[in-house]
Symmetry: C3
Subunit: 312 residues, 3 copies
C-alpha cells in the first residue's frame, strides 16, 4: 500500500490556453526531426567525452546532483567560493547554479560568480529553487537579470516568480503565485507564458542569441521562447525523492557542456523521464526507486531517449 | 559475517529505577487506548495532507532527513538563513532544528530563529546533537532555554546535557556524562528523569501547555513530563547508518505539523521502529538497509504503526 | 549497455620508471609478512572497538564518508568549527580533513585546526581534493606544510600539486599537471616520486617519525617514503559514484585510530578494493553499486582483506 497514487504515465492536462506557440496543432515530432538527431548526439557525446559540469548547489541534494551527472556519463565538481567556481568554470564545459540553501556570503558571491561567468563567456544553468521566499534569495535572483544564464530549469511557481522578479511583463500572473516551500503550487501550463518571456530574455543577453527554459511537472515544458515542446511521461515517484529537480538541473549542465541550450534541456528531461519510468517499474518505494533511477540513467540507451514523445 | 551483532528485537534493559511515572506497573496500552487512535490518525493525516516540515539541519544527514520526510508522506524544505527559515516557517506546519554541524554564523542565526518561531507561535522540534561539545554549540543550546521547542528528540547523553545546560535540576547527573561525539554514552533509562524535567520545561513555556521529549535508544522513551511511554523494537542496524536519529527528528516535525507533541513523537518513533524491523528482515548490510528502510517508511500501514507495543 | 567500459580487474599499467623503491623486483608480499598480520589486526580492531573518527569534509560526499566509516566498523562525527573539531579531536581516535568544498571561513579555521591537532598530538589524514584550484585552497594547503598530517590520500594530480606547493623538490613535475576539477589527469605512477617526497616530509614532522601517502588509481600506490606498495584490483565503477576517494580517506582515518599510518592506509585501500570487487559483481549500475559497496564494506572478512595482493 502506498500513501499516494503513483502514475508512470500521467494523462494529459493541457489547459485551453496552452496551445503550442504560433498556433500549430500539437503533435509528436517525426522520427527524422533534426532535434531528435541532436538529442541522440548529445547523449552519445556525453558518454564519449565525460564532460565536466560544475555545480554551486544546495546541501540537501548535492550528492544526488553529482551522482546523476556521473550516471548520465559526465563528471562533477562542486564549489562555493568565487575563486573556486571561476577557476573551475574555465576548465568545465558548463556550470549549474542552484539557490536552494543559502548562506550569508552567497549574496555577494553569487552576484560575482554570475558576472564572472558572463565575462568569461561560460555557459550555465540556473535553478531558481524556492524563488519568492526570503529577501536574500530575491536579491540574488534579481542580480542575475542582466547577466543571465543560458538555461533556466524550475517548477512552474519558480518560473512565474522569476518572470515577475525580472520585470519581464508577467506582473499580471504574480498575484496568483504564493510560494509553498520548494514544491510548485502552479501547474506547468500556467507558467508557459512566463517561461517564453524568460527564454526570450536569456536569448537577448546571450552572444549566440539562444536561451531555453525548462518547466518540470507532470508534463514537462521546454521552450526557447519561439517554440514550445511538451514531454509527457516520467513517474510521480520522482516527487517522492528529494532532488529530482536539482539533479535534472545538474544533468542539464552536463548536456550543456556538449550541446546548445535547447538540445541540452530536451536531452536531460527526456533522459530523466525514460530513466524514471524504468525505475518505477521495479521500485518498492522511494528508497529502491532512487537506486534504480541512477542505474537507469546509466543504462538507458541514446536511441530510446531520442525516440521519446516530443509534442510540438 | 557481520562485524557486530544485529538484533531486531533487543531484550528489555529497564533499570530498577526506571519504573513508569506515578508508580503504575508498566504494561502495553490497550488496543482501544485514545493514544493509539491519535497515532493512527496522525499517520493517515500526514499521508493525506502531505504537510510541509522545514529543517535547519546538519550537512551529514540532510538528504536522509528530507527523504525520510517524503517517505513518511510529507514534504520537505531546508533553510539556514533567518529570513529563509522564518518566511518558510509561516507556510510550514512545523520546523526541525538540528545543531549537528555548526558554521560561524549559526550562533546569532539560531538564537534569532528560535525567538522568531516563538513570536510567530510556530511549533518546532529540537535535536541537540552533540550537546556538550564546543563552546559555540553550548551557547546556542543555552539561548533556546527561554524560547524552547515543543519537542526535543535526542539520545540519552544529549538529553542529560540539555537538562544540565538549562539548569533544570539535573546537576547531579552531570558528572556522569562525558560526550563521546554524536553517539550516546548513557543508556535511555539513565536519562529518564532529565527527560521528564525537560518536557515539563517545554510545557511551561508553551501557550498550549504541552511539551514532549523523545529519547532514542534500544527501547525508546517518550515522555510529556507526566507520563512515560517506552517503545521496544526497532533494529540495531539503525546505528550502522548515519542519520537515523536526525531523520527521526525530521519526521517528528512532519507529524508535529498535524498532531500534538506527544502524539507526534510517538507516531514518528513507532513508524521508525516498525520500518526498521521490516528493513532489517531483508537487508544484506547497511547499504541495502537504508534503501529498504525508506521503502518501509513508505509502505508501513497506519494500522501496524498504531498497534505497536507501547509500554506505559 | 553501459556508456563506458567497466573493468573489475584493470590490467597492470606500471610505467618503466615505476620500479619498487631500492631496486627490489616487485612481487606479492608472502602470506606470513608482518604487514598482512598488521592489516588483519587493524580490521579486527576497528570492528571490535568501533573507534570514533572525526571528519572536516566536503558537502558533496559527507554522508558517504560517514556511512563508509560506519560500514567499516567505526563511528563518525563531522565538524567545521575549530572549537567543535578540537573538542572532538580530543575524544576521537583520528581526524580526517578534506578541502573539497571551501567556504570563506575555512582559510583561518583550517590553519587553526591543523595547528591545534599538531599541538594536541592527534593523528589526522589529509585529502587535498582539487589541489591547485583556487587561491583559497592553495593558501590552506600551504598552511599545512609545517604542521602536516600523518597520512595524505589523494589522486595522482593532487599529490603532484601538493609536493609542488610544499616545495619538496618536485618542481620539475609541476608543469605537467593542470588540474581538471576533482578528477586526476595524471596516472598513479607519475606521482610516485612526489608521493615518496611527501611521505618523507610527513615523517620528518611527526613525533613518531612515520608518515604515509596513498595515491588512488587503477592500481593504488601506498608509500611510507622508504618502500612502495602497489595494490591491484578494485573496480572502475568506483569512478562512477561520487565520493569513492573521500570515503576512502575517511575510512583511512578510522583505521588510523587503531593503527600506524602505513598499516592504516594499506588496510583502508585493501578493504575498499575487495568491497568494490564484490559490489561490481552484482551491480546493475552506479546506484546499486553504491548500495552493494556499503554492504560489502560491512561483510568483507579480515582474512580476505589481509590476503589481498600487495606488490612490493
Amino acid at each position: 500500500m502506498t500513501p499516494s497514487a503513483s502514475s508512470s504515465n500521467p494523462s494529459s492536462n493541457h489547459s485551453p490556453n496552452a496551445s503550442p506557440a504560433r498556433g500549430a496543432a500539437a503533435g509528436d515530432l517525426p522520427p527524422d526531426h533534426p532535434l531528435r538527431a541532436a538529442v541522440r548526439k548529445a547523449v552519445d557525446d556525453v558518454r564519449a567525452a565525460t564532460p565536466l559540469a560544475q555545480s554551486f548547489t544546495n546541501f540537501v541534494t548535492i550528492n544526488l546532483v553529482a551522482n546523476a551527472q556521473l550516471a548520465a556519463g559526465g563528471t562533477a565538481a562542486m564549489s562555493f567560493l568565487p575563486d573556486d567556481v571561476l577557476d573551475t568554470a574555465a576548465i568545465a564545459g558548463a556550470t549549474y547554479v542552484n539557490v536552494g540553501t543559502l548562506l550569508p556570503f552567497y549574496g555577494d558571491a553569487l552576484a560575482d560568480i554570475a558576472r564572472g561567468l558572463h565575462d568569461l563567456g561560460r555557459p550555465w544553468v540556473l535553478d531558481p529553487v524556492a524563488a519568492g521566499i526570503g529577501a536574500t534569495r530575491t536579491a540574488i535572483l534579481e542580480s542575475f537579470r542582466d547577466v543571465p544564464p543560458n538555461v533556466v530549469r524550475g517548477n512552474a511557481s519558480e518560473i512565474i516568480v522569476l518572470d515577475r522578479l525580472w520585470g519581464l511583463g508577467g506582473g499580471e500572473a504574480g498575484d496568483r503565485t504564493r510560494p509553498a516551500g520548494v514544491e510548485s503550487v502552479d501547474d506547468v501550463e500556467s507558467a508557459a507564458a512566463a517561461a517564453r518571456r524568460v527564454a526570450r530574455h536569456l536569448a537577448s543577453r546571450s552572444p549566440d542569441g539562444r536561451g531555453t527554459v525548462a518547466v518540470s511537472g507532470a508534463i514537462d515544458l521546454v521552450t526557447d521562447g519561439e517554440r514550445d515542446y511538451r514531454l509527457p511521461g516520467g513517474s510521480a515517484m520522482m516527487t517522492k525523492i528529494t532532488g529530482a529537480g536539482c539533479s535534472l538541473g545538474g544533468v542539464t549542465a552536463t548536456y550543456l557542456a556538449v550541446a546548445d541550450p535547447l538540445t541540452a534541456a530536451l536531452a536531460a528531461s527526456l533522459h530523466f523521464n525514460r530513466a524514471a519510468e524504468t525505475a518505477a517499474a521495479s521500485a518498492q518505494g522511494p528508497g529502491s526507486f532512487q537506486t534504480a533511477f541512477l542505474d537507469a540513467l546509466w543504462n538507458t540507451t541514446a536511441e530510446r531517449i531520442a525516440a521519446s514523445p516530443i509534442l510540438a
